[in-house]
Amino acid sequence: MSRIKPRMEVSIGKLKLQNPVMTASGTFGYGEEYAPYVDLNRLGAVIVKGISLEPRAGNPPPRIMETEGGMLNAIGLENVGVSVFIREKLPFLRNCSFPVIVNIFGESLDEYKRVAEILGQAKGVHALEVNISCPNVEKGGLVFGCDPDLCYEMTRAIKTVTDLPVIVKLTPNVTDIAALAVCCEAGGADAVSLINTLKGMSVDIEKRVPHLNRVTGGLSGPVVKPVALRMVWEVVKKVSIPVIGIGGIMTAEDALAFLIVGARAVQVGTANFINPRATMDILKGIEAYLIRHGMRDVNDIIGSLKESVE
């Protein structure tokens, strides 16, 4: 059996990644925090913590709570704001060899456009990932990502203000995620990534209060994997643009399941908290699997799910 290292490069539109393993926004800071643990230059990409126009302080604590097989978070999108990001955080990332993908969000369509425009002009930013799981305060808090028209409008608006590749990150807290993915594709998205966290809650029964200060939070970790996998599979069937899989990926086996159902790449998030070297282990494991199955190229496995056991 050939022991030649398989080709691991994947492309997400114009974006070329050296391998399909990326880190998820909000779980890897601005890159520097995990630099002592991981050779960052071996990653496919780093998706930076969500950036807004103005700095955000985030939610009061408690912001996190463990669950069975996962955790809830209500961080509150704390970030330094786009100006400080460009000035203080981007220089470190520019020295890295992977594409820098900046996650962005806002409270109104205009804010999203503004952040996208500013980052589109910043040296060292290679793509944007748009977090549409935010409430639109102009429309009474309706979440952008839950409305097909807003998904389309949002994507189209951002594509008009920047030439950067635009990945739209979808929320699973919807009835039909594939329908929303189709709207994003129609709006010009270069790719979609899913899932963001599932909305959940936990209660302290002795004190009779919620465990999180903000009551509800986003569920992540192994517990969400079956939902995420199913949603990626559904979306892959409905869009032609690349789909990036996120949700409970802890091991190479988990990552491979997402690639097999059709994800072009994966994001690793919560796993970093359990094992700071999770991304490296996953990368090695994908390579080992490909070698074991005599595959020369990771693209051979993408979308290779056989849907019938016959």
């Binding site: 909000g26 779980t27 890897f28 800071g29 925090e33 995990y34 002592p36 643990y37 991981v38 050779d39 913590k49 700095p55 302080a57 985030g58 009061p60 604590p61 408690p62 912001r63 996190i64 709570m65 463990e66 669950t67 069975e68 097989g69 996962g70 955790m71 978070n73 961080i75 704390e78 970790g221 192994p222 919560t270 970093n272 908290f273 359990i274 094992n275 700071p276 070297r277």
Partner: protein, 271 residues
């Protein structure tokens, strides 16, 4: 890869209940495990178990480095399901250890009246500090420990503490030993005997205790460092889950795992 930090695998040597609900876990670690400063912590996670999912931040109580191996002891209290799992670990069981993490206690120069205030399991990060201060304090400096617990049988490690401290004053909620009431009540009575320009205080205990300390010291220019705790996920400053509300210019929240767990008492907003 020696170049990068990683999880270390600890092998449990012993795990004994010292007092009701209070355990001392001893584990062997690879020699490469770095030396921790007093006040630093580790994220501990039982290997091969689905629960608890996240590691638990625990202070390093004792650390010994030998040729070819390292040993640490962790003093902890069972407060919930996660720590409940730790209590079940036996000799030979393995844990994942991330660390040492965080900022430890900082020495303050030119102080010869050193005070430590411990509430309950708060003694855990203060004990290694006591040993370090005993070795490194200026000649003639006194080390006074104020140690409170719910009951006398929950006071831990008094023998070793007596050897290191100039004085120990005890408080128990039920009056079974020493002063009856919270340790802050005991300390409040002695506060006037400490000249502010000669004194430094290190404290660790429940949030309510540290809040009381901030009230006691509000008008006094006595430097006081506290060790706090908060639920943690990443432990390295990336996820922003473990923040505490902080005063002063700049961001309103600080990360307990990265800027802490040791803070200046008056850096924190005590609610």
């Amino acid at each position: 890869m020696p170049k990068f930090k990683k999880l270390h695998v600890g092998e449990i040597l012993s795990n004994r209940e010292l007092a009701e609900g209070h355990y001392l876990m001893s584990m062997a670690l690879p020699a490469a495990f770095p030396e921790a400063a007093p006040g630093q912590f580790v994220l501990v996670r039982a290997k091969d178990r689905a629960f608890p999912f996240l590691g638990r931040p625990l202070g390093i109580y004792v650390q010994e480095k030998g040729k070819g191996e390292s040993r640490i002891e962790i003093l902890y209290r069972v407060v919930g399901r996660g720590s409940g799992v730790f209590a079940l670990l036996k000799k030979g069981d393995r844990v994942d250890i991330l660390g040492p993490l965080g900022q430890g206690f900082r020495p303050v120069r030119g102080r010869d009246r050193i005070v430590l205030v411990a509430g309950g399991i708060g003694i855990a990060p203060l004990a290694p500090l006591v040993r370090r201060l005993r070795q490194k304090r200026p000649a003639g400096a006194t080390l006074d420990l104020y140690y409170g617990a719910r009951r006398a049988d929950l006071l831990i490690g008094l023998g070793a503490l007596r050897k290191a401290c100039s004085t120990i004053r005890i408080a128990t909620d039920d009056g079974s030993r020493g002063f009856k009431g919270p340790v802050t009540g005991l300390f409040a009575g002695d506060l006037k005997h400490y000249p502010p320009e000669r004194t430094v205080i290190y404290a660790c205990g429940p949030h309510a205790m540290l809040k009381k300390m901030s009230e006691l010291l509000e008008r006094l220019p006595i430097p006081c460092q506290v060790s706090v705790e908060e639920r943690m996920a990443c432990g390295v400053g990336a996820c922003l889950g473990c923040v505490i509300e902080a005063k002063g210019a700049g961001k309103p929240y600080k990360r307990v795992c990265k800027e802490g767990p040791v803070f200046d008492l008056n850096e924190i907003v005590w609610r």
